[in-house]
Symmetry: C2
Subunit: 142 residues, 2 copies
């Protein structure tokens, strides 16, 4: 049994995030898993094409985030697992790292490519930033 008590899976709306969670569920069958989604308003705004009001944008983002984490919970249930979920708002890499520090996480699991190519080029790769700055080992799944 691995000497890992608490995994944090960084989760966004990409196939690789699902793969990262799937990997965590199958590879660490006895480890406590928290699935974290970070709402990034900067990225939200690109998608909104500046036509929607801020309040509505936030509500939409939080609804989307909840649905995303429901998917994660469903994926876990398919493996007869339960996972904790969490939502944070801010810069994804910074929030993932902050969460890992606060919750005494052993390892962060993250997909190698989160965001779409264009947004990554604009904002930088979340996975890369997490690998550079995380206080824990980081398992990068592709």
């Amino acid at each position: 049994m691995p000497d890992i008590e608490r995994l944090l899976v960084a989760f966004d709306a990409t196939p690789l995030a699902e793969k990262a969670l799937e990997h965590a569920l199958t590879t660490y069958p006895e480890t406590e898993i928290t699935v974290l989604h970070v709402i990034d308003y900067v990225e939200e705004r690109y998608g909104a094409e500046s036509l929607v009001g801020t309040e509505e944008l936030r509500e939409r983002a939080h609804n989307r985030s909840s649905k995303l984490l429901d998917n994660a919970t469903d994926m876990a249930a398919e493996h007869d697992r339960t996972v904790s979920t969490a939502i944070r708002v801010g810069d994804p890499a910074r929030e993932i790292i902050r969460y890992a520090e606060e919750r005494d996480v052993d390892t962060i699991v993250i997909g190698s490519h989160g965001r779409s190519f264009v947004v990554r080029m604009l904002l930088g790769s979340v996975a890369e930033a997490v690998v550079r700055r995380a206080p824990t080992p980081v398992l990068v799944v592709r």
Copy 2:
């Protein structure tokens, strides 16, 4: 027990490589571990200050590599473990990835900062290149 049968630990003469191996030994107590050191003649030449002949340089590099892997074997023995070891020659990231592909490795474990700062700036970060191009999940240890 984790669903991982074969770990590859990328190992060079840095404290973080030892930490990566230590992490693999303690976190995956029942997984087969191979410790790979890649001799990088380009880097060797920087260290040699161009005063030593090529043949002697190669012999020295291979001796150093063997000693390094003896250290890895000793570290494993302290955990009542045995590890396989392997030496390859070439570009570290490329050889690590090639080895992982050939040997059907499940996960590559690597320290976040292998080489010295100056050499990394000249040649690029091995860990980063492995994370970008590996066929497997990569566990980056810091």
